[in-house]
């Protein structure tokens, strides 16, 4: 009897539903990051290493080094003195923030040239950049300066999952797009309904695959439902507000995000205005046209 039961269940094989990991796995060329990022990670993870060690790694890629310097000297950091060595820049930014900044640069570099029929890439990256700046601004206003860089990265990459979805499931992505347009659903909800996953979780899977810090993975995964976050609920809430602001949607005042983020709509409005001023310059640093 037990034998029969066992064989029954083994015949009852149903293929597992599509998971975010599946989207990440198949596309190995897109999903792999340059060794430089991993090496930087290793350097930063090794205790006792300092800015000098990190600078050595970064200087091996002159384009990246130039970008990092440009960013450090931009309005984004608002430094008084001009910084002209990578090591100096890293000391000012801090090693942890350096990691996320390099990370976003590497990812944006990888994805920015990706052709795509579904959405205008210029507006895609502009939206991402606005989101990044608003998230960072909110973080600074909320007195979380230490995590501003991480929120910036999360904002910039908040829809990186969509790039994978567009590429691998074009028909479904198109359908989700139509559902957003015609039924007025937010894109992530339309994607959830149609694909059973959305750009947030796909982005999180990608981030996990790239071995991003766990906070960043969580930020991407719960960018729309901060209440579900475990490690950094408040940051998730800040990101959630930034994402919705960048998408031109108002988060209702009763929403949990406001409470978790501990910021007021007035603060968000101020940050929004400020970010509009910075967006062109920072985008240029990243090599994004917008």
């Amino acid at each position: 009897m037990s034998y029969l039961h066992a064989s029954d269940s083994s015949f009852n094989f149903a293929p597992p539903p599509l998971s975010p990991r599946d989207l990440v796995r198949g596309e190995i060329t897109l999903s792999s990051l340059p060794a430089l990022y991993h090496e930087l990670n290793r350097v930063l993870e090794t205790p006792g290493n300092d800015a000098q060690d990190a600078a050595q790694v970064i200087e091996r890629d002159p384009a990246l080094a130039a970008r990092l310097l440009a960013l450090t000297n931009s309005a984004y950091f608002g430094l008084v003195r001009r910084v002209d060595t990578v090591a100096h820049a890293i000391t000012l930014i801090g090693l942890q923030e350096l990691r996320t900044l390099v990370l976003t640069m590497v990812v944006v570099e990888k994805f920015k040239g990706l052709p795509n029929d579904l959405e205008d890439m210029t507006s895609f990256w502009r939206q991402s950049m606005v989101c990044a700046l608003v998230a960072r601004g909110l973080s600074l206003k909320a007195g979380r300066a230490s995590t501003a860089g991480r929120l910036f990265s999360a904002g910039l990459l908040h829809r990186v999952g969509d790039l994978l979805i567009f590429r691998r499931l074009p028909e479904l992505a198109h359908q989700a797009f139509l559902r957003r347009r015609d039924n007025g659903f937010p894109l992530w909800e339309a994607e959830q309904q149609l694909l059973g996953l959305d750009y947030g979780v796909v982005g999180a899977a990608l981030a996990e695959f790239w071995r991003f810090p766990p906070e960043l993975v969580e930020l991407l995964a719960f960018q729309q439902q901060p209440a579900k976050a475990k490690i950094c609920q408040r940051h998730c809430a800040l990101l959630c507000l930034a994402v919705n602001a960048a998408h031109g949607r108002d988060v209702p005042l009763g929403d949990a995000s406001w409470r978790l983020a501990e910021v007021s709509p007035q603060v968000l409005a101020g940050v929004r205005v400020e970010s509009d001023r910075q967006v062109a310059e920072v985008a240029r640093v990243y090599g994004i046209s917008c």
Partner: protein, 607 residues
């Protein structure tokens, strides 16, 4: 793996004692023939050996690391793990002793090492063990590659499956669900409606102007129009409902858990939205319209998915028939629906009959009134289905509606002429003639005349022996075209009769110019003639008109002797009816016993 490949593999000795390392290296080079054996003296330099010069270079290959256990145990294990991650297999070298036995050894193997070499070793033993380790390494790599590839493939497959599943269930052009998907969902909806008392409705939409746009503007515009319609449906229909493109310009909306009033309201909204939609084509602007049929899913009713779909379709058909741009809710009693249903049962039977020849002809005698001579028969079509005989009145309307009437006409002509050809002609008797009924659509049939000509030529039958009948109403409504057909047939030598003459109550004026030979008085006048003086008067006047125009007259429905006698008195030329002979499958030339005179008729009433 060839020996050469094995010898080319990268081996690195990790030992801080240079003499020991050098001895092992040269042993491997000289005795083992391994060509690339290197040496590093610390963990750090090992890491450097593994790191590529530039971050964008591929990692430097290293197949085997021979680790001396001179550093702390935890370190050995972590180095083993690190090497394993990078795809390097390690072999531990340790001094003979109590360490690296039992549990410790097993932890080393768990960390990815494949062997432990204890010093002092015999030279002859080392080479084969290193070879073995390299082979194990190769196996491991192959397995890992396979695993990775398999996982990639599985992921790829799941992605493709998701896309395929989507494509199978959706219409490519509009992105709406397709018919297959609707059928699946419909099954579920029906179960829900019946078991959980959730009513619903199925709307069937037909875009009224689509054909016009598609034909005048081309398919591209047609496709654009359809996408526009799909957009309207998507906006108006909540996602919990299902909007479907059934095919060409037909759409459907399945509303679940929705009361009939709400469903009808939505249908009305959709109709209005589609009516307001102006499609900008290249050649101009088009106003759309939609005929919407509604079929309700009622908990009280047990229905199949296909039935519900066809109900909605039929309701849509009714909406179209009643003037388009309207919503119609299915009602089994709609006359259009009844007609459709009849067609639906008749059409397959008719097709089958045309294919297998289950049509048959019956022949009813037409008797000359003057002397009772019978040399003329009317051929009447019958459909035999399971031994049951159906009269033309049952199936001809369906054949006309469904476009099968031409084929039926052709069959009748062919079969009648064939039958006529088989009749043995006795010299001293009048040749047998035959009346053949044509449908009202006969003049549109391009094959009819050629077929008739060919048939006459093949059988050698005199065209005089054929008489075609067409109803007066059909002739009058399409006077010009019918006249043309009649003229062509008469040029051939056939005769022509107007059937059911008088039933249309048309003016007789057209008769002056209408080239028929015979008028066949509608039987309804004849049946009651004896009781109803008006009918008799009408018959008389019809006979007068016919004779004055030099046409013969046939009276049908002659059911008793008295009528026959009266008709003869009036001057009718030919009589036809049950009294003179019922339709029968055989043609029997006869001198009608029923009509050889009054006395004979009185004696032969039993016929």
């Amino acid at each position: 793996m060839t020996l050469d490949q094995l010898c080319a593999m990268e081996i690195c000795v990790v030992d801080e004692d240079p003499i020991r390392a050098e001895r092992l290296s040269s042993l491997l080079r000289d005795k083992g023939g391994f060509r690339s054996v290197s040496w590093v003296d610390s963990q750090e330099s090992l890491k450097q050996r593994l790191t590529p010069a530039s971050p964008f270079d591929p990692p430097t290959p290293l197949q085997l690391a021979l680790l001396s256990d001179s550093f702390a145990m935890g370190d050995v294990l972590s180095v083993c793990r690190m090497l394993d991650e990078k795809g390097t297999t390690s072999v531990l070298m340790a001094d003979e002793g109590e360490t690296w036995r039992g549990v410790e050894a097993s932890r080393v193997f768990d960390a990815g090492a494949v062997d432990i070499l204890f010093r002092p070793w015999s030279d002859s033993e080392v080479v084969p063990r290193i070879s073995l380790a390299l082979r194990v390494h190769q196996e491991r790599m192959t397995r890992r590659q396979r695993e990775v590839r398999l996982e990639e493939e599985l992921a790829e497959r799941r992605v493709m499956e998701a896309r395929l599943k989507y494509r199978v269930g959706h219409d490519e052009l509009t992105g709406l669900a397709n018919r297959g998907r609707l059928e699946g969902v419909l099954e579920l909806a029906l179960i829900k409606a019946q078991n959980f008392n959730r009513p619903g409705a199925l709307l069937y939409l037909d875009i009224d102007q689509f054909k016009l746009v598609n034909d005048t503007e081309g398919h591209e515009s047609g496709d654009k129009l359809l996408s526009g319609v799909a957009g309207i449906l998507r906006r108006r229909v909540q996602p919990r409902h299902l909007a479907v493109r059934i095919g060409s310009d037909e759409f459907a909306v399945l509303l679940e858990n929705t009361s009939s009033t709400v469903a009808l309201q939505l249908a009305e909204d959709l109709r209005e939205a589609l009516h307001d939609y102006r499609f900008e084509g290249r050649l101009g602007c088009y106003n759309l319209g939609a005929s919407i049929g509604v079929a309700l899913l009622l908990p009280s009713e047990k229905l199949e998915a296909g039935e519900l779909l066809s109900r909605a379709d039929q309701a849509c058909h009714v909406a179209k028939k009643r003037g388009r741009n309207r919503v119609h809710c299915y009602d089994a009693a709609d006359p259009e629906v009844v007609g459709l249903k009849r067609d639906a049962t008749w059409v397959p039977m008719l097709r089958e009959a045309l294919r297998n020849g289950s049509f048959t002809l019956e022949f009813q005698p037409i008797v000359r009134a003057r002397d009772g001579a019978c040399s003329h028969y009317e051929a009447l079509i019958r459909l035999v289905e399971n031994g049951e005989m159906h009269a033309p009145g049952e199936f001809i309307p369906s054949a006309e509606r469904m476009g099968l009437i031409h084929q039926v006409d052709l069959w009748v002509v062919e079969a009648a002429v064939d039958r006529l050809a088989t009749i043995h002609q006795v010299d001293d008797q009048e040749p047998i003639c035959m009346s053949i009924n044509l449908s009202a659509y006969a003049f549109r049939n391009p094959v009819l005349m050629p077929l008739l000509e060919r048939k006459l030529e093949m059988t050698g039958i005199s065209p005089r022996r054929l008489m075609f009948e067409i109803t007066e109403t059909a002739a009058v409504t399409q006077l010009e075209q019918t006249r043309e057909l009649v003229e062509r047939m008469r040029t051939l030598g056939c005769r022509f009769a107007l059937d059911d003459f008088g039933s249309g109550f048309a003016t007789f004026n057209y008769l002056k110019h209408f080239p028929v030979d015979v008028l066949k008085i509608d039987g309804t006048f004849v049946v009651n003639m004896l009781k109803n003086p008006t009918d008799e008067l009408l018959v008389r006047s019809m006979v007068n008109v016919a004779h004055s125009l030099d046409k013969k007259v046939i009276a049908e429905f002659v059911e008793d002797e008295a009528t026959a006698v009266r008709l003869r008195e009036i001057g009718v030329d030919y009589l036809q009816g049950f009294y003179l002979g019922r339709p029968q499958s055989q043609i029997k030339p006869m001198h009608s016993p029923a009509f050889s005179g009054v006395a004979a008729a009185a004696a032969g009433t039993g016929s």
